[in-house]
């Protein structure tokens, strides 16, 4: 509240950032067209829109990473042209990226000054001055960053504060935060918001990109909604509800991941016993994990990323050596190679679709074959059945609403949501008995998200067993029949998705729940 009044006072002055008629024709599916945005000084200005609506493109334009084809940018009233981020930094715009750009093996100090080192005597780096400035910035904005800590020892929230500090160190007065809460658990989100309030109190301006509405409503002074590449509304958080905001974003009602009635049967489809995965230095990254997934059941695994989920999935897929037992139905598949597991009916929606799910520079129909290259309709004996694969790709495109001009375009040309729908369609074909869905709706738009949830629910109703890994707590709680929390490679809690709140789940994920 305090910020809001303060913001209102300052808002009589020139806007910190003004965008007018920004248009960008961009390789990819979403372009920006005719975007107008006015950000008041000392405001937290949220830019919301579903994934793929063009928020990131807009921010890249503002940060000089992309040049607009048309339109004008004004910073503090002066027209600006950015050829590179350096130009944007020069007028005081800084960006905190969604994915941190920090070197783990360097200290905070070294990371912060990297690229703009203060010099002493022309050659040597003046660490003393740098340390003083970092302390000073950290203290005045309440960031609580220790310049001499090693980045690899820091948690996600602290790393983000280092990123913010890095930007402030370079003299930024206008901060762009791209989906800053995507990697944080609820408690860390609250801390971040405290920091943001501290920053605007000191007169800084923050542009906050998000698609999480409750967060936006709690922190923003003004909200701009982007849909399909253009600004559709400018609203004040007092006058709008989350539901209304969602409707503005999607142009329709927001889907919910709520599963209807339970379809869980008594038949165990997949059983994991004492699964341990060791890293190269012998440390157990997955430590004695065990669970059963029955037909028609969705087992959700909640956990902060990097707590062994990826390794667990790869071990179940046979992509990574592991100790312990994996049973599919009554068959022990622990020693089976990946291909045989897939042939036995394991479907796999990988976490990183670009790395593990697709051949980006291959046409869609060849991507249909990937992972199913021993099965009809893709192959006949040792031969690729082009006609069969193409026909079935057409089917997937149709049934799963993959928006593409045809099946001969490269997978790289599709938007993330459409790529993901293709993967889901592919993994659902061939009647799998067990599906691993790793972050199935990460980085896809709301429409595709709803479609993917529908497909998962339908498959579950038809008796599919699903292992769901996700960072989206609503998705986990909404889709899962059973929830387990993983922390440092161990299952630390069983949670009932019908009663748990995202906050409780968040506590359990960080280990705070252990003490409670």
């Amino acid at each position: 509240m305090a910020i809001r009044t303060e913001g209102a006072v300052i808002s009589t002055s020139t806007p910190a950032v003004e965008l007018e008629g920004i248009t960008k024709r961009f390789p990819g599916v979403v372009a920006n067209r005719d975007i107008s945005l006015s950000v008041q000084q000392g405001h937290v200005h949220a830019v919301v829109g579903e994934n793929g609506a063009g928020k990131s493109t807009l921010m890249k334009i503002l940060y000089g990473m992309q040049r607009p084809d048309e339109g004008e940018i004004r910073v503090n009233g002066k027209a600006a042209t950015f050829r590179s981020p350096a130009d944007a930094i020069a007028v005081g715009i800084g960006m905190v990226h969604q994915h941190f750009m920090l070197a783990d093996n360097l200290t905070v100090l070294e990371n912060v000054i990297l690229g703009s080192e203060p010099r002493a005597g022309g050659v040597a780096i003046d660490f003393g001055t740098a340390r003083r400035r970092i302390r000073q910035i950290s203290d005045s904005y309440g960031l609580g960053v220790d310049p001499d800590a090693l980045v690899e020892d820091l948690g996600v929230g602290a790393r983000q504060r280092v990123e913010i500090l890095k930007v402030l160190y370079r003299g930024a007065r206008i901060l762009i935060l791209d989906e800053p809460t995507a990697v944080l658990v609820p408690q860390e989100v609250n801390e971040l918001f405290e920091n943001l309030r501290g920053l605007v109190r000191e007169g800084l301006t923050i542009i906050f990109i998000s698609h999480k509405l409750d967060e936006v409503l709690s922190v923003a002074d003004a909200i701009t909604v982007i849909r399909r590449g253009t600004t559709v509304a400018e609203v004040s958080p007092e006058d709008v509800t989350a539901r209304r905001l969602a409707e503005l974003m999607v142009g329709s009602e927001l889907p919910s991941p709520q599963t209807r009635e339970s379809a869980v049967t008594d038949v165990v489809a997949l059983s994991v016993r004492g699964l341990t995965v060791r890293s190269e230095d012998g440390r157990a990254v997955v430590d004695g994990v065990g669970f059963d997934i029955r037909r028609g059941e969705v087992l959700g695994i909640a956990g902060v990323e990097g707590n062994g989920q990826a390794e667990l999935v790869e071990a179940v897929m046979g992509m990574r050596p592991a100790e312990g037992e994996v049973l599919l139905g009554d068959k022990d598949i622990s020693a089976w190679p990946t291909l045989r597991r897939r042939e036995a009916g394991i479907g796999y929606i990988p976490e990183d679709r670009h790395r593990h799910g697709l051949l980006l520079e291959a046409p869609l129909w060849e991507n249909r074959i990937l992972g199913h290259q021993t099965r009809r309709p893709n192959v006949r004996g040792p031969w690729i059945d082009r006609a069969g694969a193409r026909r079935d790709t057409e089917r997937i495109v149709e049934e799963y609403d993959v928006r593409t001009p045809g099946i001969d375009v490269d997978a790289a040309a599709l938007s993330g949501g459409n790529q993901q729908k293709l993967i889901v369609g592919r993994e659902m074909s061939g009647e799998p008995v067990f599906l691993i869905a790793s972050h199935p709706t990460r980085g896809v738009d709301v429409g595709a998200q709803a479609a993917i949830w529908d497909h998962l629910r339908a498959a579950r109703a038809a008796g599919l067993a699903v292992l769901l890994i996700s960072a989206d707590l609503d998705e986990l709680i909404g889709l899962s029949d059973t929830l387990k929390v993983i922390l440092r490679g161990r299952v630390v809690a069983d949670v009932d998705p019908r009663t748990v709140t995202p906050e409780q789940l968040g506590s359990a994920m960080t280990g705070a729940g252990e003490a409670a």
Binding site: R25, P27, G28, V29, V30, A31, R67, D69, E70, R228, V250, G251, S252, E253, M317, M319, P337, T338, L339, R340, R341, R342, E343, Y348, P350, D352, R355, H356, G357, L358, L359, L360, E361, A362, E366, I369, L370, G371, H372, Q373, T374, V379, P382, W383, I384, R386, D401, R403, T404, P405, V409, D410, A412, A413, L414, G447
Partner: protein, 383 residues
């Protein structure tokens, strides 16, 4: 400027499906560019560029020169296909050179030591060459799979070892005999049943085209079919495009590395066969060197495409043959090597540019084609 450029691209190519024409443009432009560079070099050395190129073309299109070029090209082609098999999987088999030399030497010695009816004798020699090539290449494959040794390093080293091993074997105490009427040494000549007769393919020349050109064509067809139409080929290409995706799809990448390396080596073993079976009939100190490295250049030139490689091999052979005439005009024949080098460099650059352009043009095309339909379908979905 950037705005104008992308609008232009939108209009001109964004909606046009890029066919093979654009990919043809790359090598042609590169050859033209290489011609320009060569002209500059010629000018510097004091020779008239246009006239020199004219002489080369005149000489190159004579029937006799075409036969010579075709014969050279057969070996180039096989060597380039061997390299291309590796390239398709992101394996850099730099060792084709050592593989084909060792294979030719052993096959020559083996062929001379046995007598069989004609087709069998030839088949046996070819088979031995393939086995030796595959075996030698497999060392690099095994090292990569077992010990993580980069195949680039190991195949280069294996080339040196092959050279040493070859000299050790090609000794009068072991596989070699003195070649009559010279101080050259070589393996015993192959019997008539292992000699492949030429084909009178080009009218107007008494020279015959090496009969093993058929082998080259067959390998080219097989290469295309196996890579594009079989499961194995799909796995191989998938591994080349994205190893993590291939692993996730169930491809056993280690096994693929071993097989691809062995296959590449087997085809490399064939690269010396046109000369051995159709020309020299023995492996001597004069057996041609460096085919393997030429193969790398030609595979790059032909973009790993069987037809493209055929053109590349012919171009290379044509340049090699026509360099013979330059000396008569007191122009240094090394000019041809400069030309070959610039062609490869500029082709790589040109392909990369066209490739990037194609990707972004396709993305543009998809977004523009979808821009019309999305609205309607999205509204429909929300209803």
């Amino acid at each position: 400027m950037s705005a104008a450029k992308s609008t232009f691209a939108d209009r001109l190519l964004g909606r046009v499906r890029l066919g093979g024409l654009l990919s043809l443009a790359a090598p042609i432009l590169a050859v033209v560019f290489a011609g320009l560079i060569t002209s500059v070099v010629l000018l510097i050395t004091g020779a008239p560029p246009l006239e020199t190129l004219g002489i080369m073309v005149d000489y190159g299109v004579q029937p006799r020169s075409i036969v010579l070029a075709l014969n050279l090209a057969s070996g180039f082609y096989l060597s380039a296909i061997a390299v291309a098999i590796g390239f398709r999987m992101n394996l850099f088999n730099i060792g084709v050179d050592g593989q084909y030399r060792l294979a030719a030497l052993v096959a020559a010695a083996f062929g001379a030591s046995i007598t069989l009816p004609a087709p069998l004798h030839i088949a046996a020699v070819v088979l031995v060459a393939m086995l030796v090539g595959a075996g030698w290449a497999s060392i690099a494959g095994l090292l990569k799979v077992r010990r993580g040794v980069s195949e680039v390093i190991s195949t280069i080293m294996l080339n040196a070892i092959a050279t040493a091993l070859g000299s050790w074997l090609l000794n009068k105490d072991r596989l070699a005999v003195e070649v009559a009427g010279s101080n050259n040494i070589g393996t015993k000549p192959l019997g008539p049943s292992a000699q492949v007769s030429g084909i009178a393919l080009i009218p107007g020349s008494p020279l015959k085209v090496n009969g093993l050109i058929i082998l080259a064509v067959a390998v080219g067809v097989l290469y295309y079919v196996v890579l594009n139409r079989t499961r194995f080929g799909f796995d191989l290409r998938a591994t080349g495009r994205s190893e993590p995706a291939a692993v996730a799809s169930g491809v056993n990448v280690k096994r693929m590395v071993l097989i691809a390396m062995a296959l590449s080596g087997a085809v490399a073993g064939l690269a010396g066969m046109p000369i051995l079976l159709g020309e020299s009939y023995s492996y001597s100190l004069q057996f041609p060197l460096g085919l393997g490295f030429t193969g790398i250049a030609i595979a790059l030139l032909g973009r790993n495409n069987p037809v493209g490689i055929a053109f590349g091999a012919m171009l290379w052979a044509f340049l090699d043959v026509s360099s013979n005439i330059l000396q008569l005009h007191e122009i240094s024949p090394e000019i041809v090597q400069i030309m070959q080098g610039t062609i490869v460099l500029s082709v790589i650059v040109a392909y990369e540019l066209v490739h990037r352009y194609q990707i972004s043009a396709e993305q543009r095309r998809v977004s523009s084609e979808l821009a019309g339909g999305t609205q309607v379908r999205a509204e429909g979905a929300s209803a």
